[in-house]
């Protein structure tokens, strides 16, 4: 079959539109690969009214075939490994992986246990790491924001260079969301 190509100006417009759509409405899928639930309830908390990521267009999606971003937690147990790989393979290109929590980064407190692979980046290419046991919802939102910023520039996120103060303000500030209830 001959691949049909648009002429270059149309192709440019199409690329811009898809990039715009991707940045403004990334759909995420959540996979628990053996985590303790702590990160998962924090991911769920980002969807609920206090943090409400849906106002940024981020939506948790049921099927991997509809998702752009894989939010993955846990130290990857032997049994969950195949399911994780299959979920990742079912996602359409381009796809991005965010590893949430200390276990997803290195195995965390379970490092060395006999039934874990230890760290999601041993299996999948991870774009953003969100540290913490578990990370605060603000941290998870920041992780997604880092990914989106990089996409805006048209590339995958670069490894974060620790500058000492840069992240501090974002990850630990009260963020003005207190007293949201009542």
């Amino acid at each position: 079959m001959v691949q049909q190509t648009l002429n270059s100006s149309w192709q440019n417009v199409l690329t811009k539109v898809t990039a715009w759509a991707r940045i403004n409405s990334p759909w995420a899928i959540h996979f628990n690969s053996g985590s303790c639930n702590g990160c998962d309830i924090q991911i769920l908390a980002t969807l609920t009214p206090r943090y409400d990521v849906e106002r940024f267009g981020i939506k948790l999606q049921g099927s991997p075939r509809h998702a752009d971003v894989l939010l993955c937690t846990g130290p990857v147990t032997m049994q969950a490994r195949d399911a994780l790989l299959r979920t990742y393979e079912q996602m359409p290109e381009p796809k991005f992986v965010i590893a949430v929590g200390s276990c997803g980064l290195s195995g965390g407190v379970f490092h060395g246990c006999y039934n874990i692979v230890g760290g999601i980046n041993e299996l999948l290419p991870v774009d953003v790491f969100v540290p913490g046991c578990p990370p605060r919802p603000e941290g998870i939102i920041y992780g997604v924001a880092v990914l989106l910023e990089a996409l805006k520039a048209g590339k995958r996120p670069e490894p974060i260079q620790w500058s000492g103060s840069g992240l501090d303000g974002v990850l630990h500030s009260g963020s003005g969301l207190e007293d949201h209830h009542g």
Binding site: I29, H30, F31, N32, S33, G34, S35, C36, N37, G38, C39, D40, I41, Q42, L44, A45, T48, P49, R50, Q61, G62, S63, P64, G74, P75, T77, M78, Q79, A80, R81, D82, A83, T87, G108, V109, F110, G112, C113, Y114, N115, I116, C133, P134, R136, E178, H180, H181, G182
Partner: protein
Amino acid sequence: MAADTNKFVIPIGPQHPALKEPANFEFWVDGEIVTGASVRLGYVHRGIEKGAEARTWTQNLYLMERICGICSHVHATAYTLGVEKLAGVKVPQRANAIRQLMAELERIHSHMLWLGVAAHEGGFDTLFMYSWRDRETVMDLLEKISGNKVHYSANLLGGVKFDITSELAAEIHKGLDFLEERNHFYMKVVTTDETFIGRTQDIGTMTTEKAEFLGAIGPTARASGVARDIRVDAPYLIYDQFPVKVMTHTSGDLHGRFIVRINETFESIRIIREILDHMPQGELTTRVPRRIPAGEVVSRVEAPRGELLYFIASNGSEKPERVKVRTPSLCNWSTVLSLAIGLKLADMPMLLSGIDPCFSCNDRSISLKRGQQGPQVWSWEKLRQYGIEYYR
């Protein structure tokens, strides 16, 4: 249950929008009616019990806390109570009071989380959003006390890390007032909303005899009229000074489980207020030796989901010889599988979440060998090899 080849099998999981954790279910259906159910667990089996043998008593405190992210404090409490009993240490009353206060705050957070998730499975997303919004209040309180929202690490061997100052107490009182008011609202929703009652009343009804027969525990059993609660039956911490009332319900259906859990939230709020008003004075910690004397101990506490049992064996060294954990979620699976038969497929998500399952708690490995006598010891290498071969 044997698979009938003529029936249609619906697989659910391990990755599924209705489940936040990995587990695999198979439902055999005849039209819309479920005729058989099976569950495959183990996706979250990490090898914690064996891992505990390679860590020191203090390191294990943090490992045990991370068995489950929702009821992390009770796991650490059960473990510390066991180790302190082995070491023969008497913990200051104030430390016990703070442990109990954290445990009850955690129960509120867990029950509100469950209320939201269960409503979500029933398609009632408004209640999910409301209860999770209000749940952030108790998460804020836990964060203000301990510095972390989920794994508080309040326990130490021989005491607690944090004190409850009078300013903190005032904030907790303020938070509780808000939560109590909101819970009255949820009680009203659960008991009066017509669609909600339609989804829950007379669904998955379990009689008292059946609950006893299937070994149900926790709020699932209490909703069937089984008045069983470790906080009352075998008081630990200072539950003898601040007794709780066992909340039961006679209906035994999903509706009863909602009512029992909301009532338990009210009871927790009452207990926390009582503890805050009569906080014992004294030290926060006491000294515990690095080597724990040899011996065996069983320690039982009431987790938000039911009885949690720890068996700890020490050989007198810096590391435990064996830590065995029995978590409440595992005991309740048989109720789901037996109640599922005859119900509609659409009721399955709510029935599953009705026992408040926590997969990260219940994925343990058991090796059964018929006819073999005497103890068996699996070495680290052998287990690791077995794990790799098993999933190849």
